[in-house]
């Protein structure tokens, strides 16, 4: 039977296959380097789901870098507004709440020229903006509300972000809840530090007194009760280095899906 087995490879075929394989591996390496360079690789790219996460994040960064989340008419605002289940609020929060949030502060530092701490009154002294956008939860429910606040880009401009900044990490007063977004989302015109909702104060159930609205991502990226922000060029030093609390709890860092 052995004389019947065909010669699988001719020399030419071997050489061309070899060159093709080398070119393939090489271009994959170059693609990976370029993807890293252009911010197309999410911090939770390791592990078995890294391929899908990277493809999702990279393709959406290429397609949606400047696109605006859909805005709705005032008549489409959900009535009553939906307050999702919130974590048990700690004493630090309750003390500030007792004082009418007069002492609530948002500190911003990291890769900035002028680290600063803002009171709610100071944030409200910036020209206020509003957007009527949808909050979508990873569970499947959604609601539409008018969100009032100051675009994060204005605050980042005020603290003078260094050019090498790549991410903004933000922390809730609830120590288990912190997230991060890349600069395209941080500088996006619909990313708001939100203090009002539907023409009124932002209710505690919806994240009041201060919530970061990231309108092109699922609800869990819009962290409630924001007290601290840090601008960075590397997420490795935060928590387990996966970018935010979400991947540490088994959820994707990028939630634009």
């Amino acid at each position: 039977m052995s004389e019947l087995s065909p010669r699988k490879f001719s020399r030419r075929k071997l050489i061309t296959t070899g060159i093709a394989a080398a070119a393939g591996v090489g271009s994959l390496g170059v693609a990976a380097r370029l993807a890293q360079e252009y911010g197309l690789v999410p911090p939770d790219h390791g592990g078995i789901y890294g391929l899908g996460e990277t493809l999702t994040y990279a393709s959406q960064r290429l397609l949606t870098r400047h696109s605006l989340a859909r805005e709705f008419s005032r008549s489409q605002i959900s009535k009553p507004p939906f307050p999702n289940e919130i974590p048990r609020l700690n004493d630090a929060f309750k003390n500030l709440q007792a004082g009418g949030f007069a002492d609530w502060r948002l500190s911003v530092n990291g890769l900035v020229a002028k680290p600063a701490s803002f009171s709610l009154a100071q944030l409200k002294s910036y020209p206020s903006h509003s957007q009527i956008t949808m909050v979508q939860c990873e569970e499947g429910w959604s609601y539409i509300a008018e969100w009032i606040g100051v675009p994060l880009s204005q605050i980042l401009q005020a603290v003078e972000v260094h050019p090498q900044a790549r991410y903004v990490v933000y922390f809730s007063i609830d120590p288990d809840w912190w997230e991060s977004i890349d600069m395209p989302d941080a500088l996006h015109p619909q990313t708001f530090l939100t203090y009002g909702m539907n023409g009124d104060e932002l209710p505690v159930g919806n994240g009041g007194p201060l919530r970061l609205r990231v309108s092109r991502q699922l609800g869990y990226k819009s962290v409630k009760y924001i007290t601290h922000m840090m601008v960075t060029d590397d997420l490795k030093g935060f928590g387990k280095g996966l970018g935010s609390a979400a991947p540490e709890g088994g959820y994707a860092w990028y939630a634009g899906i």
Binding site: L4, G52, T56, T64, F82, N84, E139, Q217, G249, I257
Partner: protein, 299 residues
Amino acid sequence: METSNSSSGTTPCWIRTTPVTILLAFSRGVRNMRAKWYHSRVSDSACVPGAATAVPTAAVPTTTVPSRHSVLVRVTHWITTLCFLALLVSGAEIVISHPRFYWGETGNDLTPTLFKLPIPASRNFVPSGYGYVLPDQNGWSRYLHFQSAWVVVFTGLLYVVVGLMNGHLRKNLFPGGPDLSWRALSTSIASHLRFERPSEAEAWSYNVLQRLSYLFVIFVLFPFVIWTGLAMSPAFVSAFPATVNVLGGQQSARTLHFFVSLSLVLFLLVHVAMVWLAGFWNRMRAMITGRVAKPVERI
């Protein structure tokens, strides 16, 4: 051990389904294909008189049986199968976290539903009517769902593009003109309704109902399930708002996604039932190794 492998007729069914034996069968199929290729080369080359006699066809009958399914069809079929099962399990887990469905843009625990599934939820905030909460599996389910979606999209594209180029879709899936006459269609429908076992010749080609349902799955259900999935992505619809607007809103997209998935599950059940009816092991072997049990002359 080695002899029991070669005589598969005496091997019990359950042993044949182990991954190792599937791999063995697959490699055997590849080997046969190579031998077949070589044989066709040798018999073509009339300038090598010794070669033709050196390959007595009767001595190795199985190697001359043409492959029922091409490597492309077999590999993409099984990758799609794996991805679909992963999408189904993870999709079910995601639905369990909020088993309520709506129509329009928004929907939540405070709004009326289009319908709700009579199952408990994996989140305690959902008014499911049950006194307990199922374990929450959303994290890995969502990771797995999107990863499988990417793999199945690339697999589907490969299948369609290569299938168009090499004529697989034209020859094996697009029904011929006469097949689409009412008479031919009603004959085929009637024989299906009588649960007739297909003839042996049918093991070599798809019947017209089969062709139409495969085409419907490939060119209608799969694209629609991808579309309704993308229409739920807040970032994707920010760039392409029409994808969700024409569906009637984000919750409509979610509800449609659910129904298209149910249609695909229905297809899967009928597909497996038909394979069972036609001879499960023979069809499985054809889709894994490319071979069918009895060599049949092509018509």
